[in-house]
């Protein structure tokens, strides 16, 4: 527990750094941020600009602005969207479930494919299966995810017509009542199987496209750490006890191999979070990533700031969670 507590303390400067970077985003604009924001609107009087500057607090000294920004974040005041005129927090809350559902599904799919594939590859090193999955994973890390998304649509949606190529749920299906915002969960709670299967079929392609890079990476890491573990004395000793090979691999080897794997997966969570933006766009998925892209196009800076902040904090949170899992897996660090 002390280890975990230390890690928590270590993240404090990082979280402060994150807020600083996000805060500075607004001030990196080459010109006046307000003029840039309003640039598309046409002619606006100087008074209006000053008014907006004042409203955004841009007429105050920088350090005061930053403290105000920090205070706002802590109080839960993430600012107002310039475009929609509603609090940023509301916008994010509205979009978050879609992104969450997609990201979790992508994570689940990729781990479920990649870890067994990595284990099998390592156990049957140099076999055909190993070479095939190594090649697939090499291609996986080299593949632009947006292009993979398009190709998936092209094959399964346009070509074969098996799966829908966009949106969370078809127009013809009634939405289940919102409880969690996650369609799969909501439709299950409402006992609405039609909606469940529809949501599932909509989720499959984007989750696959989003999860592919992570899956490729996880497979490679699992394979190499399994290869490392399998050569350890304790694996030979486990075999010498007369344990079945399956037990040796799953109970003795995989447990140890997962320790480095978890760390690498957590460090690469950014791929998943960043991939959101692109995959959501391709599959018309109404999530946070789309919101960011739209807000950038419309110079809606407070929304961009809020979303970027959330992404970064999520990354930090996920790494903390990974550390927690890590301490569960490895008794040596728990002390």
């Amino acid at each position: 527990m002390k280890f975990f507590f230390d890690r928590m303390l270590q993240t404090i400067p990082v979280v402060l750094g994150i807020t600083l970077v996000v805060f500075s985003l607004m001030h990196l604009t080459p010109g006046d941020p307000v003029e840039t924001m309003l640039g598309s609107v046409g002619h606006i009087s100087q008074e209006d600009i000053d008014l907006i500057r004042h409203e955004l607090g841009l007429d105050q000294p920088l350090w005061k602005q930053y403290l105000g920004f920090l205070g706002g974040i802590c109080r839960g005041d993430w600012g107002m969207s310039l475009r929609y005129g509603v609090p940023v927090k509301e916008l994010i809350r509205e979009r978050l479930p879609a992104t969450l559902e997609l990201t979790l599904a992508a994570m689940l799919i990729s781990l479920m494919i990649a870890i067994p594939a990595g284990v099998i590859s390592a156990v049957h090193r140099y076999s055909l299966v190993d070479q095939a999955s190594t090649l697939v994973s090499l291609i996986g890390v080299s593949l632009p995810d947006f292009w993979l998304g398009l190709v998936l649509i092209l094959i399964f949606s346009v070509g074969l017509g098996w799966l829908p190529g966009g949106l969370r749920l078809g127009f013809e299906i009634a939405w289940p009542p919102t409880t969690t915002g996650l369609l799969l969960v909501d439709s299950l709670l409402a006992w609405n199987w039609e909606a469940f299967w529809a949501a599932m079929s909509h989720l499959l392609l984007p989750a696959l496209a989003l999860g592919a890079p992570l899956a490729a990476l996880t497979m490679r890491i699992t394979r190499s750490s399994m290869l490392d573990v399998i050569q350890q004395d304790y694996i030979t000793f486990a075999r010498a006890k007369g344990l079945r090979e399956m037990v040796v691999i799953i109970k003795h080897a995989l447990h140890n191999a997962l320790i480095p794997t978890i760390t690498v997966i957590a460090l690469n969570m950014g791929t998943l979070l960043g991939g959101n933006m692109i995959i959501e766009r391709i599959f018309s998925w109404p999530g946070l990533g789309q919101l960011v892209v739209d807000s950038i196009r419309t110079y809606d800076y407070p929304v961009v700031q809020g979303a970027v902040l959330l992404y970064a904090l999520t990354y930090v949170g996920m790494n903390l969670a990974a550390d927690l899992v890590y301490t569960r897996l490895d008794p040596r660090v728990a002390l």
Binding site: R125, Q232, D233, Y234, T236, F237, A238, R239, A240, K241, G242, L243, R244, E245, V247, K251, H252, H255, N256, I259, L329, D330, P331, R332
Partner: protein, 319 residues
């Protein structure tokens, strides 16, 4: 003569590597009687451990047993299906390893590591109590508490005891001990040796005791087999071999260890290097380092034969 416990005949285990075929074990013959302690000595890399793993059926690719027989109580282990071999492994034949720090799984509790072995061979009934008894037997204080701990919470000597407890938990009739004391402090070494010797008496096991420490062999073993470059070159009663070595390699080996009793004795290392296992010369593998070698040794490969009563030697120059 009654049936030997273990009889290894002409065992050949090769490793197919990029650099060529490494003949790690190339024609090993060994016989162990029930309840007998056989010392297997030789320099590191001479194939002792590979012999042990071959007997256990634990050779992993790129290693491969290419020839020979391993008769355990008259049954050829190489002909067994993996399932049947698993029943013997850890049950009838157990093995302990050199480094206790790397041999216990770091993420699994000690108790679990013992009970899983008991569960396979004796069923799950009373396995916890049996495990505690085993820890007691190998001299671990407060065994119930230790059962719940992880390996890193134990000292090196403790871990070695735990490993022995695991290996002996199913009362094997053959124990293969691969340098079980090399990684330990000298004082702990003596304790562990006493422990193994005591348990050997109590459980009446045959032991294949692998070591490069001739002192340990003299103290502990009944018989000795000397290995060089993948072959057994001399076998016999411990006292006889150590006092009257016949094979030039055994003689060299004995000259290369310091003795306290003879202050003027000079340590003479054996000249030259162990040959690379994937490019052994034709003829005797010891020819380059042997003081007796002549032309014949480069042509003919010697084989083990009885040079004296109960003494096998593999050398052309010994009459």
């Amino acid at each position: 003569m009654k049936q030997p416990l273990l009889e290894v005949k002409n065992l050949r285990t090769h490793f197919l590597t990029d650099a060529g075929v490494a003949k790690a074990v190339d024609g090993v013959d060994l016989t162990i009687a029930p309840g007998e302690v056989m010392g297997l000595v030789g320099e590191s890399g001479c194939g002792k451990s590979v012999t042990a793993l071959s007997i256990m059926g634990l050779i992993q690719p790129p290693g491969q047993i290419v020839d020979g027989q391993i008769l355990f109580q008259g049954e050829d282990l190489l002909g067994l299906a993996e399932r049947e071999m698993q029943k013997l492994r850890g049950g009838q034949i157990a093995m302990i390893f050199q480094d206790p720090l790397t041999t216990l799984n770091p993420v699994i509790r000690v108790g679990e590591q013992i009970t899983e072995a008991i569960a396979i061979h004796q069923g799950k009934e009373n396995m916890w109590e049996k495990a505690v008894q085993m820890l007691e037997l190998v001299g671990i204080p407060s065994p119930k508490q230790r059962m719940m701990e992880y390996p890193h919470q134990l000292s090196g000597g403790m871990r070695q005891r735990v490993m022995i407890a695991i290996a002996l938990s199913c009362h094997p009739s053959l124990l293969i001990a691969d340098e079980p004391t090399t990684a330990l402090d000298v004082t702990i070494q003596a304790q562990i040796l006493d422990l193994i010797a005591g348990l050997q008496q109590e459980l009446d096991m045959g032991i294949l005791f692998i070591t490069h420490d001739l002192g340990v062999v003299a103290e502990f073993c009944d018989r000795i087999a000397v290995m060089y470059a993948g072959k057994v070159v001399e076998v016999g009663d411990v006292k006889q071999v150590l006092t009257h070595p016949l094979h030039p390699y055994t003689r060299g080996l004995l000259r290369s260890i310091p003795r306290l009793q003879e202050p003027r004795h000079r340590i003479e290392p054996i000249e030259g290097l162990v040959p690379e296992l994937h490019m052994l010369p034709p003829g005797c593998s010891f020819q380059d380092r042997c003081p007796l070698a002549d032309k014949r040794c480069t042509r003919w490969e010697p084989s083990l034969r009885e040079a004296a009563p109960d003494r096998l030697v593999s050398c052309l120059m010994i009459p």
